[in-house]
Amino acid sequence: MTNSLALRLGPRSITTIAATSLVGIVAFGWPLIAAPTSSVVAHATDAPWLFAIVIPLLLAVVVSSFTDGGMDAKAIALLGVLAAVVAVLRPLGGGTAGLEPIWVVLVLGGRALGPGFGFVLGAVALFSSALLTGGVGPWLPFQMLGAAWVGLGAGLLPRATGRPELVLLAAYGAAASFAYGLLLNLWFWPFVANLPAALAFTPGAPIVENLLSWVRFTLLTSLGYDIPRAVLTVTLILIAGAPILNALRRVSRRAVFDPQPTFVPAP
C-alpha cells in the first residue's frame, strides 16, 4: 500500500516550516530559554502579545508556501472536511477535564496524509473551530502552532504497520497531547502575575530557577487536564485508530493525490 502524500513538502515549504517553528519555539519557550538580560525579558508582559501577532503572520506564510504550486483542490477539500470533524469533536470535551478527542484526528490525519498535511491541518482545524464557536483570542495562534506541530510530528513518525503502528501512534498521541498542554501553559505563564515566587516567572532570574517554577506551576495547575487528555487520546487511538486510519487511507487512494494522467495519441 503506497501512501500518497496529500501535500508535497518542497524546499520552500520545508524552509518556511523550519523558520516558523524556530520562531515558535522562542514564542513558547522564551521564559525558559531567554537570557536574563535579553530585551524580551525586559518587556516580559508585552512579549506574549508580540508573538500572538507574529505567529499567525508566519503561519500564513507557511500556508501560502504550500499553495504556491502544491495545494490542489483535493487537499483543500479534505482539509476542510477534517477540520469540520475537529470542529464537531471539540465542543464535546469542552472544559471537562481537558477531554478533547480532537487529538486523534490530528495525529491520525498527519500519519495517514503526511507531515505537510498534518501541519496545515492542525492550524486550519483549530482556527475554524475557534471561528465556529466564537473563540478567537490571543491564545489561538499558540493553539494553532501547537496543533500544527502535533500533526507534523505524526507525519514524521517512522514506518510501521498493524499493531506496532497503533502502539506507536498511541505513544506519540500521549506524548504529543501532553506536550501540547505543557506548551500552552508556557505562553500565558508570564501573565499570571503575583504568584508566589516559587511558581512565578521571574524576569531576569536564572533559567534553572524559572524552569523549576514552571514545572511546579504545571504540576499544581494543569496536570489535571493534561493527564486525562493523554489517557483519552491513547484509549481512542487504540480502540478506533485502525478503522480511522483505514478510512483515511481509503480516501487518499480514492482521491489519487498527485495523479499522473497520461495521454497517448490515437494510433
Partner: protein, 373 residues
C-alpha cells in the same frame, strides 16, 4: 453626518470591527483602574447590543462575559491559595500549609489581606476586559464575511475554512440521523456506543464527499492562475528566504543576552514584513476576483478610527504616566477618572451610531434544518 450610507442597512467590513475591538483591548491592557476597565466593558457591551446580528456567533459575547468572570475568579483564587499576602487589612486568617520541599516550600493559605485581593481583582479584571473586547469582535463579525475578506495570499486557507464551516452543521445532522437509524437494526440509539457506532459511517461519508467536492472545485476553475515570469518567481523565493532568515535572527536577538535593541524587534518585524510581501506578490498571479466584496467606506473609517483613537488615548496617558491609570492597591485608594482616557472611551462608543444597521435578512440557522424531505 450626512450621506445615505448611514441609513442604508448593510454589513460593516469585518476588519473595521476587529480594529475597533483590538483598539479597545489595547486600551484595557494599559490600565488597572477598575472604573476605566468597567467603562471599557460597558462600551463593548453597548456597541454589541446595538449592532449584534441575530445569528449563532452573535451569542458568543455572553460566552466571553462568563469567561471574563471565570478569569477573575481564578485570579483571585490563585491569590487566596498561593498569594503572598501584603498590606495591613487582614480579612481572614486561614490555616497556612507549607508544601513539601520538593515543591520549593510554597506556602498555601495563611493571612488574606484586602490589599492583596484587590490587586488580584484588578489584575484579573484587566485580563477579563481584554477577553471581553475580543468577544465583542467575535459576536459582531460574521465568520463567513471575515473569510471573504482574507487577503489573496491566504485564499486557499480561507476556502478550506469555509468548507469546514459549511460541513460542520451537516456533520452534526448526519451523526444524528445515522444514530437514530441504528434503531432500525435493533441497536441502542443512545449512549457513547451509539454515537461511536454512528461516527464511523459519517466520517467515511464525509471523507468521500471531500473527493466529490474537490472534483466540483476543479471543474469550476479553482486554482486557475496566470503565468509568472521565472525571474519574478526567483525574486519571490529570494525575498521569502531573506525574510525568514531576518525573522529568525530578530527572534534570536530578542532572547540573546546583550544583543543591541536594534537587532531584535525591528529585525523580526522587517523579516515578517518581507515574508508577507513575498507571498502577496506570489498571490498576484492568481486570476481570481471577488464577488460583492464588503466596501471600505466612511462608516468603516469611523469605526476603525474610534478603535485607534481609544488605543491612542490610553497609550498616550500611559506614556506621560498620567495619574489614575494605575490604581494603587496598597494602601487602597478610590480610583480616579482621568480625562484623556474618558475622552477616548467616549469616542469608542460612536460605532453604536456610526456603524450601519444590519440588513433584515434571515441568517443561517444550521440547527433548524429539517431532514424531513
Amino acid at each position: 453626518m450626512t450621506g445615505s450610507l448611514f441609513h442604508l442597512p448593510r454589513w460593516l467590513h469585518p476588519a473595521a470591527w476587529w480594529i475597533w475591538a483590538l483598539g479597545l483591548a489595547t486600551a484595557a491592557s494599559r490600565t488597572t483602574n477598575p472604573l476605566l476597565l468597567a467603562l471599557v466593558i460597558a462600551v463593548a457591551a453597548l456597541v454589541v447590543s446595538a449592532r449584534k446580528p441575530d445569528a449563532p456567533w452573535g451569542r458568543s459575547f455572553k460566552f466571553f462575559l462568563r469567561l471574563g468572570v471565570v478569569v477573575i475568579v481564578i485570579r483571585v483564587g490563585v491569590q487566596l491559595i498561593f498569594g503572598a499576602a501584603f498590606g495591613t487589612t487582614v480579612l481572614l486568617d486561614l490555616p497556612g500549609v507549607t508544601s513539601p520541599s520538593w515543591l520549593a516550600g510554597v506556602r498555601l493559605g495563611g493571612d488574606i489581606t484586602f490589599e492583596s485581593l484587590l490587586l488580584a481583582f484588578y489584575d484579573g479584571l484587566r485580563l477579563a476586559t481584554i477577553l471581553i473586547c475580543i468577544g465583542a469582535a467575535n459576536s459582531l463579525v460574521s465568520p463567513s464575511r471575515l473569510l471573504k475578506s482574507v487577503p489573496a495570499a491566504l485564499y486557499e486557507f480561507g476556502v478550506s475554512v469555509v468548507v469546514a464551516m459549511t460541513f460542520t452543521p451537516q456533520l452534526v445532522a448526519d451523526v444524528d440521523r445515522v444514530r437514530t437509524a441504528r434503531r432500525l437494526r435493533g441497536r441502542p440509539t443512545t449512549g457513547v456506543r451509539a454515537i461511536a457506532g454512528a461516527a464511523m459511517p459519517v466520517f467515511e461519508g464525509a471523507l468521500e464527499k471531500s473527493v466529490t467536492l474537490a472534483a466540483a472545485m476543479d471543474s469550476r476553475g479553482y486554482g486557475r492562475r496566470g503565468t509568472i515570469r521565472a525571474a519574478q518567481r526567483r525574486m519571490n523565493s529570494a525575498l521569502l528566504l531573506i525574510g525568514l532568515v531576518a525573522a529568525c535572527i530578530g527572534t534570536y536577538a530578542l532572547i540573546a543576552a546583550g544583543s543591541p535593541m536594534a537587532l531584535g524587534l525591528p529585525m523580526l518585524i522587517v523579516g515578517v514584513a518581507v515574508c508577507i510581501t513575498s507571498i502577496t506578490w506570489s498571490a498576484r498571479t492568481a486570476v481570481r476576483t471577488r464577488y460583492r466584496p464588503d466596501p471600505w467606506a466612511l462608516p468603516e473609517n469611523l469605526v476603525a478610527g474610534a478603535g485607534i483613537m481609544i488605543a491612542i488615548s490610553f497609550l498616550a496617558a500611559s506614556w506621560v504616566s498620567m495619574p489614575g491609570l494605575d490604581t494603587p492597591s496598597n494602601p487602597p485608594t478610590w480610583p480616579a477618572l482621568p480625562l484623556l482616557p474618558l475622552l477616548g472611551l467616549l469616542i469608542a462608543t460612536t460605532p453604536a451610531l456610526t456603524a450601519p444597521e444590519l440588513p433584515r435578512t434571515k441568517v443561517a440557522q444550521p440547527r433548524s434544518i429539517e431532514v424531513a424531505a
